[in-house]
Symmetry: C2
Subunit: 136 residues, 2 copies
């Protein structure tokens, strides 16, 4: 199975990842997230746009109950020779507020965060296993 040469680098450069947490009943909860990688840790702010709305916090409840998460980034193209994905399995924890370096990295990566309130909870994932695939 052909793999990427540099899954963590390809992952870090992506604009969006999909996060799977585990609900209390064990089912996977999927949600797209923005993120920045800081010192090898994947950091994602919990919605600065609409904080304190309960449904948004479900992923935090999941992580507090079971820290095992998965994330994937991928590139789709109608020319399937361009397809690739990079996945990471890891452990998540909540930092509230997030570190100043994580906040700075998110602001640097995303214009949408430049003026946003980022003093809420931050999901911080420690990668444990990288998996990747490339069509090339």
């Amino acid at each position: 199975m052909p793999q990427l040469a540099d899954p963590p680098d390809r992952f870090a450069a992506a604009r969006v990842a999909r996060l799977a947490t585990l609900r209390p009943d064990g089912t996977p909860r999927l949600v797209p997230i923005t993120f920045a990688v800081v010192d090898g840790l994947i950091c994602s702010a919990v919605d600065a746009v609409k904080p304190k709305r309960t449904p948004w916090l479900a992923r935090l409840v999941d992580i507090r109950s079971d820290p095992r998460v998965g994330l994937v980034v991928d590139e789709y193209d109608e020319d399937w020779t361009h397809l690739w994905w990079a996945r990471v399995d890891g452990r998540a924890r909540i930092e509230s507020p997030g570190s100043t370096s994580a906040v700075a990295a998110l602001r640097a990566k995303y214009p949408g965060y430049r003026d946003a309130d980022l003093d809420g909870p931050m999901i911080v994932v420690t990668p444990q296993r990288w998996t990747s695939w490339s069509a090339r």
Copy 2:
């Protein structure tokens, strides 16, 4: 939390979804998939390009052990007012081979499947719960 008016339609129109299955140890296994929706069922062929390579079949082993899956499609744009996602939680089963209607739908949706061998296993997901979000 603003939602899409038509999550199943928006989902069906997407070119790629991300599937989460549950590994035997209960962790979520994420992988991007192509798919077609046929009679309300989400159908995904197991890699016609490189069949019979064991790592590709991990999602089938997962589903046989636990049919609970999640899928998400999303649109990313640097203008965050354009963001949306649609998620479905459901139960998956394996059909081998897939139905002729599922094969036809995949071939109609994806040029890459037009001449591909699609007589292998097909993942068929029965949606149980739709969730969506839209920034607008």
